[in-house]
């Protein structure tokens, strides 16, 4: 690709799924209006949802899903050895995601419940950065294709790759939404990273924090406002735990 005197190399990219629903990978094939231009940026070396060819000479590896089996650990480590840029792609990869709910129960009970009578090897769910070094995180359940496109363009052109630092509320206000707290619900918008265009709250569904904590969140103040409104602290706990994205932010007062 040559434009305005610059030559841009196509991104040698591969995409791999681990414990997940593959919804984030599917997003890559979404947004038809720019799909052809988007694919034009990429030299797809390995991506079973888009191409049957498989090569192992990729630079960028998109890792979708969390890690819940020993063979996944080994596969991931092999990818790490090859990839120059390893991307945690989607909330499962970035935080553990919905899968992490499993970690609240004894493994034996879970296997007996889901695969009765079978011998299944399973481990507590881990996010990608618990297993290998992650170079870039693109959160979201699913990822926002527009954001993925922007990031790929930035990688291709050597521009700075950033995520928004403001919380979801900021984008929610630009949609003129009535705040869900005013409607008596708990919403994680004030502590969650923006960039999704407040898609859930615009549909009158509280934010569950799929994009993880925004920069420098104020958890004590957030818990305080839930208490001041006499909303259910159990509901708060449940929402905060949903994607396992707020690990490390003490909300023990809740």
């Amino acid at each position: 690709m040559k434009h305005w005197g610059f030559t841009f190399e196509k991104l040698k990219i591969a995409s791999f799924d681990f414990t997940c629903c593959e919804g984030c990978q599917l997003q890559l094939a979404n947004r038809e209006s720019t799909l052809i231009d988007f694919l034009e940026l990429l030299d797809i070396r390995n991506f079973r949802e888009l191409s049957s060819e498989q090569h192992n000479d990729y630079d960028i590896a998109l890792i979708e899903g969390s890690i819940s089996r020993q063979d996944e650990v080994e596969r991931l480590q092999a990818i790490r050895r090859q990839a120059k840029t390893l991307v945690a792609f989607g909330s499962c990869a970035c935080f553990g995601g919905v899968n992490s709910l499993k970690n609240k129960f004894p493994l034996k009970e879970l296997v007996a419940e889901v695969y009765p009578g079978m011998q299944i090897e399973t481990m507590p769910v881990r996010k990608i950065s618990d297993v290998v070094k992650v170079d870039l995180s693109i959160p979201g359940c699913p990822v926002n294709k527009e954001e993925v496109e922007r990031i790929m363009v930035n990688l291709a052109t050597g521009s700075l790759v950033t995520l928004p630092k403001h919380p979801v509320c900021f984008e929610c206000k630009a949609q003129l939404n009535t705040c869900l707290f005013e409607l008596g619900e708990i919403c994680l918008g004030p502590i969650t990273r923006g960039g999704c265009n407040a898609v859930c709250t615009t549909g009158k569904t509280p934010c569950l924090g799929c994009r993880g904590p925004s920069e420098e969140i104020n958890m004590p103040a957030f818990v305080e406002l839930v208490k001041a409104r006499e909303l259910s602290l159990d509901d708060l706990q449940e929402k905060i735990a949903f994607y396992n994205a707020f690990e490390g932010f003490s909300n023990h007062e809740a």
Binding site: W4, D37, V153, C169, A174, T178, S214, A221
Partner: protein, 359 residues
């Protein structure tokens, strides 16, 4: 200014005609909150039935019609070694109906900042220049403090202002456009009785304010209290969410972002309304943040709103609508913050100026 009186039923006919033929926005109910109170926003309206004439105040202000939350400033098209910049200043005439006095004051303030400075904004001007504003008076909400800011009455910045005097509206007509358009409708010159009713209405409004913020000498108090612990106290509550600036009728800050099109054949420069409460508002290239603390960021918002910046002649830009206070989930609002500062200053006066010892 010309004054007329119009029956409410006739005013309805007038608005029907006006709204039918123009792109118009007015207050509409969008929700009922958990306390049973109606929530309003300025939204498209096409007939008088769409307009909630008896509304209280909108949750968000009317500024985004002139300062969109997101706006393309220019496009770039690349060709071989060349590039071409395309800029267009777009705006079409709009009618805004139902603005409150403070909302109109806020537009006047934005005009001062964005049109009367050294670098008038052509983007703002294009959207603002053909606006037809119909103001309507109302009884203040318990937390409105526009009277303290002297913005509860207004004499410029509208085409037409309606005071509710019972069966009729008392009209203040401020433009020939409005005057000519009204000619086609039944109005009459005010009688003594109408004038009495107007005076009475204004008195009732003025006497109905429950919230007062003492702003005398506020700019100097803000200077004196620059290092006050009050900022940390309130800053600790702040969620850095930017909600206050988004709903505020006079906050005009923005960030600019440039990005390539996905096909790399062009690029866009976009502006997004921003807020001094956001974590990265004062972050510069290389990552240094000039205002890393919540309290500092909150302080600057109060500084700008209540002390003013040089670019708006050191005038306060807050009009006292309390939208920020209502929307802030953390309960941060100008009345409490400013009262706290005052108390802080008074306690400091009693502490420092102890009488000299008697001999």
């Amino acid at each position: 200014m010309i004054y007329k009186v119009i029956a409410k039923s006739e005013f309805k006919r007038f608005t029907d005609a006006l709204l039918r033929d123009n792109t118009s926005f007015g207050p509409r109910q969008v929700d009922t909150d958990s306390q049973g109170k109606a929530v309003y926003q300025f939204l498209p309206v096409t007939s008088s039935d769409d307009v909630a004439f008896d509304y209280t105040a909108t949750a968000s202000s009317a500024k985004h019609f002139f300062l969109p939350f997101r706006e393309e400033l220019s496009r770039f098209v690349f060709q071989d070694q060349e590039w071409d910049q395309q800029i267009s200043y777009e705006g079409k005439p709009i009618v805004l109906i139902g603005l409150r006095a403070c909302d109109i004051s806020a537009l006047n303030i934005l005009d001062d900042v964005l049109l009367k400075g050294h670098f008038p904004s052509p983007y703002y001007l294009a959207k603002r220049k053909n606006t037809f504003v119909i103001g309507m008076d109302h009884l203040p909400l318990p937390d409105c403090f526009c009277k303290s800011m002297s913005h509860h009455t207004i004499s410029t910045g509208f085409n037409l202002f309606c005071s509710d005097i019972g069966e009729d509206y008392y009209l203040s007509i401020n433009s020939s456009k409005a005057f000519n358009f009204l000619k086609e409708f039944n109005t009459r010159d005010p009688l003594d009785d109408d004038n009495c009713r107007l005076v009475e209405r204004r008195k009732i409004i003025s006497d109905s304010f429950l919230s007062e913020v003492d702003v005398t000498a506020l700019p100097s108090i803000l200077d004196i209290e620059f290092d006050s612990p009050v900022w940390e106290k309130w800053g600790n509550k702040c969620l850095n969410c930017g909600t206050c600036a988004m709903v505020c009728p006079t906050c005009y800050c923005y960030s600019v972002e440039e990005s390539f099109d996905t096909n790399l054949k062009g690029a866009t420069r976009q502006k997004q309304l921003y807020s001094c409460n956001l974590v990265d508002f004062a972050e510069v290239a290389g990552g240094h943040n000039f205002r890393p603390k919540n309290g500092d960021r909150l302080k600057y918002r109060y500084y700008h709103q209540h002390r003013g910046f040089a670019e708006n002649a050191n005038q306060q830009i807050c009009v006292g609508c309390n939208r920020c206070g209502r929307a802030c989930l953390a309960g941060i609002n100008p009345k409490d913050v400013i009262n706290d500062l005052r108390m802080e200053k008074e306690s400091c006066l009693t502490n420092i100026s102890s009488s000299p010892d008697r001999i």
